[in-house]
Structures are given as C-alpha cells and as structure tokens.
C-alpha cells in the first residue's frame, strides 16, 4: 500500500460545519423549549395568568370554532385532558386521534396521518408520540403549528413551562427564595415576567430515571436559562455522565442526600418501565438510594417544594406521605398545566403573521 506521508501531528483542520436548524417552520409551533426565547416565555406566562382569569364567556371567542387535532400515540391522562380543556376553553373544536382506534393501527405513517388531519381542516396538531423527534417530522411534512406534547425520551416543553409556573408561584420576590405558601398568584395579576436571573440562587434537583425522561430534558434546558442550577440525580444506568454536557447550569450528583441538602425544589420522576429496553434495575436498591421519604425530606430539605410530572407510583420514587404532604405541589402542577396550555394553544393559532415567535 502507499507509503505514509509524514505530517505535523494533529494540525488544526478546517472541517464542514453542521447545518443551521430551519425549525420551527411555523411560528406557532412549540417543539422544544429551545424554540422559546425568554421574552416568549414571559409572554406565555403572562397570557396563562390572563386567560385563567378571563371570563369563560369571552375567553371562548378567542379561538371560536378553530380546529385543533390531538394526535396521541401513547396513553396520557394529564397532558391530553389539559390540552383538550385548554383548547375548548378558548372556543376551539378539538378531535382526538389515538393510535389504538385509528388507521395508525393499519400501518398509516405519521406523515400520512398528519396530512390527513390537515386535509380534514386541522389548523394545529398537538402530538404525543413514543419516538424522539416525531414532532419535528410532523412539522416538516405538514408545516402546521405543532405542539409537542411529549416525544419519546426527548422533550415535553409544556410540562417544563408549567413546572416553571409552579416554581415561580412559590418564589418570594423579595428574598428570591422558594417558599411553600403560594406567593405570586394573588399578587401579580399580569403574571410574572422572567429574565436570565429570575431563578438565580435557586437549585432544582431532578431525581430518578433521567435517561428516559422528556420532562427532565425540557426542564434542564429551560430552567438554567433563568439562572437556576439544575442538579441531576440518579444511578448511572438511568443517568449517564454525559448528561452534564447537555447544556450550561446542569450538574450530576449521584448522592441523593447530598443533592437534597442543596435543593429548594425537588422534582421526582417515575421509572419508565416501558422504556427500560432490557435494562436490569434492582428496585429495592433503587428505593434505598433514591426514594423520597418523609424522613429524608424533613431531615434534609424541610422547606423544599416537591414536584412530580405524574403519573406517580406511590411507594416507589416517593412515599404516599410525601405525595400527599404539605411540601407536595403535584396537583398544583396539574392545575397550572391547563393555564399554560391555554397560552400555548392561543399562540399556536395567532402567532402566524406576527413579528417574532411570541
């Protein structure tokens, strides 16, 4: 074979640059929290509060008779119901297509299902899908406003927004600390506007099955942009070291108790048995190390807010006492979901033609 030409070791070479993303194609889409600049996040939070307070009889004229499809490839309680209630609160007509009762069962592709819904008059599609990236594919082929209601292990942007609203609701504006009583809802009619230091000094720990969690990804990509520290906590099988490189402000801490001690907010995650893909996990050992018990909470984080995106598995990632206890804001999160999704659905059908993404 040809003799080697000696070369200066490891010289710096110019190489092709990765392409710049053209997503989202539609200004009304919400695919990833990365699509939202902080002004847009502020706008959505403000609108969530305003819409929540608006008279239902005037609110339902905002999207009167507009058509919105909910396309669900996975089962869902909270997300589907709150999106549906949110869209209906604004006056829209909604229709639900789920994979088990549609032509998807007969082998129709996501592309064809999306084009069919568009032909039926859908002006926006809310998509829950078991494959990461499905929302991007649907937007690419339909060019409709697509609201990502969870794609595989990837993102769940409205969950991160409602988690943010829950956290802000407990943020004492004077001391900039998280308090257990609801601080903001009564004081700020317009809803909080956020900036890059709104959550400065606040540490949020996300615990458990990070690897398979779209909630964790959306939160770790959103909250640090408001100044928060995000600690990821879990065993290596469920939390690879490379997670710390997902973005700025993200840290990995394997020791749950050390993480708890630093946290103002603790977000517990369910073990996603449906995504473990052959991964062997000793549940007794897992509970030993990572279950949020009343004892751990009162000893290490007695003033921290406890969040969980649901569904919760009582007795696994957290005890029933913690789920029902005074530090739990789990049901409050669900309530914020409707408000946030009203704002996101409104933006989906009114963003086109406006300047910017708001």
């Amino acid at each position: 074979m040809t003799a080697a030409t000696p070369l200066p070791a490891r010289r710096q070479l110019h190489t092709p640059q990765p392409p710049v993303s053209s997503f989202p194609h539609n200004p009304g889409s919400l695919l990833s929290v990365m699509d939202l600049d902080l002004d847009t996040v502020s706008h959505l939070l403000t609108r969530a509060t305003a819409l929540e307070r608006q008279d239902p009889l005037t609110r339902d004229r905002i999207l009167l008779k507009r058509r919105i499809a909910l396309l669900f490839y996975e089962s869902s309680t909270r997300t589907r119901t709150s999106f549906e209630l949110a869209a209906k609160s604004l006056g829209a007509d909604t229709t639900l297509v789920s994979s088990l009762s549609s032509s998807i069962e007969k082998g129709e592709t996501l592309k064809d299902t999306g084009l069919t819904l568009r032909a039926l008059g859908a002006e926006a599609i809310i998509l829950r899908h078991n494959s990461s990236g499905a929302a991007w594919l649907l937007e690419e082929v339909t060019r409709l406003p697509i609201l990502n209601a969870g794609d595989g292990m990837h993102e769940h942007p409205t969950q991160a927004l409602l988690d943010l609203r829950t956290i802000l609701n407990h943020l004492d504006p004077s001391s900039k600390t998280v308090i257990l009583s609801e601080a903001r809802v009564s004081s700020a009619v317009e809803g909080p506007a956020v900036s890059s230091n709104t959550l400065a000094g606040v540490t949020i720990t996300i615990v458990g099955d990070i690897l398979h969690s779209r909630v964790a990804r959306s939160n770790m990509l959103l909250l640090p942009r408001l100044g928060a520290r995000v600690i990821l906590c879990g065993p290596t099988q469920l939390l690879p070291d490379s997670a710390a490189n997902a973005g700025p402000g993200i840290f990995v801490e394997r020791d749950f108790e050390a993480a708890l001690r630093q946290s103002q907010v603790v977000m517990m995650l369910r073990i996603q048995a449906e995504r473990l893909a052959g991964l062997q996990l000793d549940l007794a050992q897992y509970k030993d190390a990572y279950q949020l018990t009343g004892q751990r909470l009162s000893a290490l984080a007695p003033t921290a807010l406890v969040l969980h995106p649901g569904p919760i598995i009582r007795g696994l990632e957290l005890t029933a006492g913690v789920a029902d206890g005074p530090q739990s804001a789990i049901l409050e999160q669900v309530r914020h979901g409707v408000a946030i999704r009203m704002a996101v659905v409104e933006r989906a059908l009114t963003a086109a033609g406006k300047e910017g993404r708001a």
């Binding site: 030409t5 990236g133 292990m153």
Partner: protein, 435 residues
C-alpha cells in the same frame, strides 16, 4: 469493438507512476497505447475525446456498495446503481451480499453478472460468509469464488462468535479471499440509532458506543494473530472510530494483513450533522464525535487507511420519511465521493491528487486483488475517468441517476466534475448525455 482515443489530457496513474500529458488509445476493452500528445493517428471509426485541460485517471473503484438486487429493486437496481457509479467516475464496484435472498450462493452471483441486469460498469459481487448471513454455518468459499465473488462478508450482520469468525478467516484464506467485517458488537447497540454521547442524550436517542466497533476490530485482529497464516486478510469495513483506526495501525506495525476503508461521511461529518433528526444523516456505523472524525482524516493522511469506500446504501423516499428511530440506516454515495474527496482531502487538507486517486482506485483494486484494474498501464482494462479537477459545482440529489435520494450532501459544493467515465472501452457516462 471500436477503438477510442483520449487526447491531450493530464494522465495521473499512481500505480504506474505516471503524471504527465498523454494521449491514450483504448482498444478491445483494454489500454492499447499511451503516448505523448499528438502521436496517435485516428483511423476511420475511432472516436476521439478531447481531454485538453482535463485529468485522466484509472476508473474509480468502490469496494462497498449496496445494489439492492436481487429482492429490493424498489430501492435500487443493478442498472440504476451502476449508472450512478458511472456518473460518479466509478468503473468497478463491489456489491454487498445483504440482498433478498442473501447472496450466499454461486447462482445469485451469476444472476447478478447476467447481461440482463444492465450493469454499465463492472460489478464484483461479494459473497455472504455464512448461510443466510446468520453467523452459524460457513458457505462454500471455493464455489463462491469460482462464480466471481471477490471477498466474503456478513456485512450488516457481523460475525460475533469467535469460533465462526476464526473459521471464516481460515477458510477464506485457503481459497485466497478477503474477509470483510462490519465491526459492530450488536449486543451493545440494541435499539440504538446514533452515536452514544451527549448529543444522543440531548436528542433522547439510544446511542451506539464506539466500543461496539473497536472491541470487535480488536477481537478480529486477535483472531488473525492467532491463526499465524500470512494468507489471512481481514478488511475492516467503514471504519468510524479513533480506537478502531488505532487497532488497525497497530496490527499493521505487527505485520498483519489487516486493512481498512473509510467512507466520505465519516471523514467529513460528525454526530452534530444529525441536527434535529435528519434521517439522511442516519447510517451504521453512525456519524461519530469530532475527535473520531479527526482520527479518520488523520488515518487517511498518514496512510493507515487503505481505501475510500462509499457504503452507498439507497433507500426509497418513504422509508426515510419516518421517525428517526424507525428509519433504515444508510445514505447514497457513488455520485458524491470524488467531488467530496477532491474538495476536502485534496483542496482543503492538501492530500496530493495522486494519493486521493490511489485511495479511490489503485489501493482498493490491490486490496481485493482485482487484476487489471486500478491502473491504466498498457494491457489493463480500459477503465477510465476523465474529469475537470478545478470545476466547483453543487450536487443536487434530485438529479441523481440512482433511484434513491437519501444523501446528507444535497446542496453541497463539490470539486472536480466528471466529463467521461469509460468502462472496459465503452463510454458509460458522458456529462453531456441527458439522463
């Protein structure tokens, strides 16, 4: 057969050590004469191609192509695949056996060679190493070889069992065939669809660790070492990791007959090119980290890499227009290889033109023992590519001669435009001929 004269082009034939202006006479499918410009007299009926200002080189050879026939003609046929090859300057391509049925028999190899397939360049079938590529029962290599197979491999179904791989290496060596391994320990890549690392984590995709490739390369090299038979030849397909390149480099220093190829996408692109789930950036092995990509470039520049091979893997449009995890692996490559190699290896990274052409012709020919190919010495096959080395142009996938459009290089700037491709004396591609 009529004769063909190529006049006044700059002949670069690395294997023959020629780098000068020449006239070529091609006759009866062979190179008949090579002389200084102006010395050839055209007789009646001799077609003359004016190559003034153009480069003449041995036709390119791609030792890793998926032609999809028999069985998957909706993706590509031997006719369309070889047409794309000719458009890219290739005059000989080796066809992987992962067809349907798997090419594990002399009958299929002969079927592929039939004139009815409409091949416009030479096709060298590669036989399956084991029955049905199931990794259990070794095929009759002597029969495959006499039918025309130039190597054996189970390509996408790597041979994991030590005993079967050892037996494959030994049996192939006895009949003088190379063993090509797609190095992937599939036990580490279940459900994975891109390189393992921070980007896979961020995109929520399961990752293929680099160790899945390098550990199998290391295992195979250990088996070659243990066999102590100088006829054993292991060829590592589409190398993508720094660790695998390092293992090949070390094996070579130890005097083993271990060779490797690298695909253009692996020396140009990284996992970042997956972007937001671009299925045309999904292949196996996957696009890796920048450090691995740099190791491919280094391996090419320092000579440890023996060949550029495209791993041309056509798929129908509808197959790639699905969720990233559900999309099949692979991209096309025959029409973009030369343009990318000249644009990046030669122009950008200063690899001499002769070395680039050698990686695309003389070296792959030597590697698989393709006699009379990879050089234009008098008496060789009249396999020629004539190209304008300076022209920059934009590749548009929709204009492809392949049936498939699945390329991440759509819209990329290429350098070096193919003017004619001549296969065994016949013009297989001319830039002025409409598709």
């Amino acid at each position: 057969m009529t004769a063909l004269i190529i006049r006044n082009g700059h002949l670069i034939d690395p294997a023959a050590g020629v780098d000068a202006l020449k006239d070529l006479l091609l006759k009866d499918g062979r190179v008949a004469e090579i002389v200084s410009p102006g010395k050839l007299k055209a007789t009646d009926g001799t077609e003359v191609l004016d190559a003034t200002g153009l480069t003449i080189a041995p036709g390119l050879i791609d030792i890793h192509v998926h032609l999809r026939e028999p069985g998957q003609a909706y993706k590509e046929t031997i006719a369309t695949g070889t047409a794309a090859a000719a458009a890219g300057g290739f005059t000989a391509i080796a066809a992987m056996p992962n067809t349907n049925p798997v090419n594990d028999s002399p009958e299929i190899t002969r079927w592929m060679h039939s004139p009815d397939r409409g091949a416009c360049v030479r096709v060298y079938p590669i036989g399956a190493a084991t029955r049905g590529s199931k990794g259990e029962q070794i095929n009759d290599f002597a029969a495959l070889k006499s039918a025309g197979a130039v190597a054996v491999t189970d390509d996408g179904h790597p041979i994991l069992k030590d005993s079967i791989m050892r037996e494959t290496l030994a049996a192939a060596a006895r009949v003088g065939l190379s063993v090509i391994q797609h190095a992937e320990d599939t036990r580490m890549t279940q459900g994975a669809s891109m390189n393992a690392g921070p980007i896979a984590f961020k995109l929520g995709l399961r990752g293929m660790p680099t160790e899945a490739e390098s550990s199998l390369v290391e295992r195979d090299i250990r088996l070659v070492t243990e066999l102590r038979d100088s006829r054993v030849h292991l060829h590592v397909a589409h190398t993508s990791t720094a660790a695998a390149i390092a293992a090949v480099r070390k094996a070579r220093r130890n005097g083993l007959r271990v060779t490797c190829e690298v695909a253009p996408h692996h020396f140009l692109l990284t996992e970042e090119h997956v972007g937001l789930y671009n299925t045309n950036a999904k292949m196996n092995p996957p696009l890796r980290s920048a450090a691995d990509r740099d190791a491919m470039i280094e391996g090419i520049l320092d000579g440890v890499v023996d060949a550029i091979a495209t791993d041309h893997a056509p798929h129908a449009v509808h197959e790639k227009e699905v969720e990233f995890e559900n999309a099949p692996n692979g991209i096309t490559g025959l029409e973009t290889a030369l343009g990318l190699c000249l644009r990046w290896l030669h122009k950008e990274w200063k690899l001499p033109l002769g070395r680039v052409l050698s990686l695309l012709s003389a070296q792959p020919a030597a590697l698989l023992g393709l006699k009379g190919r990879g050089t234009l010495a008098v008496g060789s096959f009249a396999d020629v590519v004539v190209f304008d080395p300076k022209t920059e142009w934009i590749y548009h996938a929709k204009e492809t001669r392949s049936k498939a459009h699945n390329t991440p290089f759509d819209g990329w700037t290429m350098q070096g435009k193919v003017r004619w491709t001549i296969s065994e004396g016949r013009i297989a591609f001319s830039a002025t001929t409409p598709q």
